[in-house]
Amino acid sequence: MTDPLSAAHAHPHRHPPRPDTDDTLGHYQIMEIAIRELLIEKGIVTPAEIQRAIEAMDARGEALGARIVARAWTDPVFKARLMADGTEAVRDFGVDMGTTRLFVVENTPAVHNMIVCTLCSCYPRMVLGLPPDWYKSRNYRSRAVREPRGVLREFGLSVPDDVEVRVHDSTADMRYLVLPLRPGGTESLSAERLAALVSRDAMIGIAFARNP
């Protein structure tokens, strides 16, 4: 499974940065430097705060979300708390949702959930880190709510006709995370080994959890 376009596209690994990024300064990169320097001169932010904020965002990602999912699969009390109040339950993992609220939506044999933000790019970033480009693309944002099964097929995911597909449109205040269906034959696996089966894409709902 090395096809980078496959739904099983595993992380973490490196993607090339866009060629037009750090080498030549465009208008908006100059704007970024100017605003940053002015805010520092005015004492509104410090370079150390910017560095810490970058490191904090870099530390969020698939692995954090996967640990939360694996805990829910193995700890019924935690799962009940997570489903009742996601914002509160993820504090166990040091996640502060800030001004947003987290809603966890559970996949079952009868229901498959996926998330989108049709208006922009709202995403459970405090758990999963920054969203992939395709999540923010016109094609995904437009079509996920109208023809989700077609979009899922393009990601290589075939959801049977008798399984209901629910699409959750995120907002600035409400962020969703998909709790994937636990793969069969994993009863004896530890939470740590279970977490390795959970990809970012499974928590967006465009993939299933991997089989062991």
């Binding site: 990169q29 605003i35 480009d133």
Partner: protein
Amino acid sequence: MREPFRGHHDMGGLPAGRVEKTEHDYAFWEKRVDAMNVLLASKGHLRVDEMRRNIEALPPDAYDRMSYYERWISAIAATLLQRGVLTADELGRKMEAIAQREGVPR
């Protein structure tokens, strides 16, 4: 029934092409824009709805032409100008100075 007015950003349900599974590792300048947004919000200098309003106010051709973090830094700039945290004059002069310092033709 006529379709109600939609903003250019309001694309849910509209016809569109195949989803290409693109992604890239964020560049440093993109991470800095993201961090600045987080910090300004936490310090009360910017709210998510102001960011949204300023992104959604971009003309459709600019919205489509600009990259994601180009839209964000432009919305951060607009918000800070609207709030009077920065003035257009000081931002313009600072950008000019940086372009000169970095040898970018203007």
